[in-house]
Amino acid sequence: MAERLATLVIGSGFGGSVVAHRLTAAGERVTLLERGPWRDTQPMRRRGLPDRRPLPAGAGFCHHLLYRLSGPAGLRLPASNSGLFDIHYDPAMSLICSSGVGGGSHVYSAMNTRPARSDYWDGHADGVDAASMEPHYDWMLGVMGARAPATGEGVPGFTGDDLRDHPQLTAELDQPPLGFDFDGARFRDNSYFGSPTGEKRTLDDLLLAPALEQGLDLRAHQEVRGIATTGETPYRYRVQVHDHERKRMHYLLAERVVLAAGTLNTLKLLFASRAAGELGALPGLGLGFSGNGDQVALWWCHDESDLSAGTPTHGRLSLRGAGDEPYITRFGFNGIDRMPLPEPLRRKLRHQAILVCMGEDGANGRLSWHRGRLRVAYDPARNPVLGQINKTLKAIGQGTNTSVRFLRRRPFTVHPLGGARLASPPEEGVVDACGRIFGHDGLHVADAAALPAAPGRPPSMTISAWPAHVSDHLLTTGETP
């Protein structure tokens, strides 16, 4: 007999883990499905969680690296169910997401920041504004224990120290608070490929494992493939799930479903369900897509020190006199010891850097669904911030007499946002001020797909603030199973 669930949360990243944690703490019966595995990190070992899968390292680096590679025209590469990255290639903009319990918290750069604009949440829908969202930022920053490194503290690679006397560059900027355990840190292996020692604070440890003790039912290796309305109460939604361990489909009925599978997969689910004749027209689906102005450059800077040590990011920098925008951060090849690389190349890369840039694009991209595939329409020419970022990167190279290399015509993002955005009329978005999909009581979007605009800053705290807001609504309006 198919299971009957009260609240089903799909996904365990910055959206799903927040909803699951807050609803469980309030005494709700919550089931969370995550397509990936628990990660084998020291905090998870200490908690004794079973069936952990390694982060990419050594001989198994490639096997544990890629969960899925998909794209237009049926592009599909075999991948591993314990892989870390889910890549959707599209000529207009490629999307890179993560997989596993804790979601993006394993692969992000630990920067815990607010949006560039203090009025980010204002004017999108009645019932959501900057003032009401502020406590959610405070809560999440508290959960992450986030703080910025201090000058002179001795954090390896910190731009506040490294660039203090630099003639062309400065780090005298608001440095991002980091969700990082500075006490006793080795400052190694806490990169985009995860943090096996737990130096980078992750949501599996901070929110999900504690919620398990309060009754959260979290199931790994369960990938949701479709959502349908049943037309019946109280179980209004039927959910198709692929069990990666048993390699079979099964079906669940749920009173309430919270979509938090990450922008890419939440949108795939909504598009696929709509294409199958479910969920109605959803006229605003796919609108307002943003890459958060992401641009990444290889900075061939030949630094004397070993830049592969440090926090996940070394911190912000800018050209002297260039102001606060765009948002540029420096990274070393942190985690390089775990990559299967020839030793000479490894030695060389230790002294090079990566520049990661973000900015407020216009969130004017559009996603669509064509023969079962997601398509991205995104015009860089309509988003001048991208040109500004490229210009700044070029200026850094020229100003420092070093090589800064980046892709100009192949946009990609690790911060896909929008597509099921918060909006007031249903024609312009997908969810209302409570995160509820227009016309579908009990079906909510609680991840970055619902964001109404590009934060222009590392978005993890903004993504987390939204599900905190959605959870409060679910708990206070009586819309509970």
Binding site: A228, E232, Q240, H242, K247, R248, M249, Y251, L269, A275
Partner: protein, 169 residues
């Protein structure tokens, strides 16, 4: 370990072709009764046939697609109030195997189902033991289970099939 399906699937007919009987029983149990009794001709697609359950998912789906061509003389069913019959390729007995239609609780899962009872005097004896069950898969598509009732009254699932209204293939 490989991903079995890269594209998000859904409960559309094609997505079900590779399902086995256990998976379809799981889905079938969650489905509601048709909003109203079906009328007229419905196109049928066979899947999850007993004896083929151990085949790989892709092969099962491929066979189901082959059986959805004129290789298979069975074309579907037609409904007329509380009666119905099966549809076959032209040249054969177009309405071989009749059934009565009623609403009742399924003896398999205890939930309401549209019950197709082949225990009719004008059916050949082997056909009289067939008991069909149908529920809404989605608008215009029914998911059905074909069972055989043994002498002890127990039901054994033989296969599943979908019935699609001509305008909802």
């Amino acid at each position: 370990m490989q991903n079995q399906n890269v594209i998000p699937l859904h409960q559309g007919r094609d997505a079900l072709l590779g399902h086995d009987q256990t998976e379809l029983a799981d889905l079938f149990e969650t489905l509601p009764l048709p909003e109203r009794s079906p009328e007229g001709p419905w196109h049928g697609t066979l899947m999850a046939i007993t004896g083929l359950q151990r085949l790989p998912r892709g092969l099962r789906a491929g066979l189901a697609r082959v059986l959805d061509t004129p290789v298979n003389p069975w074309r579907g069913k037609t409904f007329d109030g509380d009666r119905g019959s099966n549809l076959w390729l032209p040249g054969l007995n177009r309405h071989f195997a009749h059934y009565r239609v009623e609403q009742r609780d399924s003896p398999v899962d205890g939930r309401p189902v549209l019950w197709l009872d082949y225990d009719e005097a004008d059916n050949p004896r082997p056909v009289r033991g067939i008991r069909g069950e149908a529920r809404w898969l989605r608008t215009g598509v029914l998911l059905c289970r074909m069972n055989r009732q043994d002498r002890g009254g127990r039901l054994h699932t033989l296969l599943y099939f979908t019935l699609s209204r001509p305008d909802h293939g």
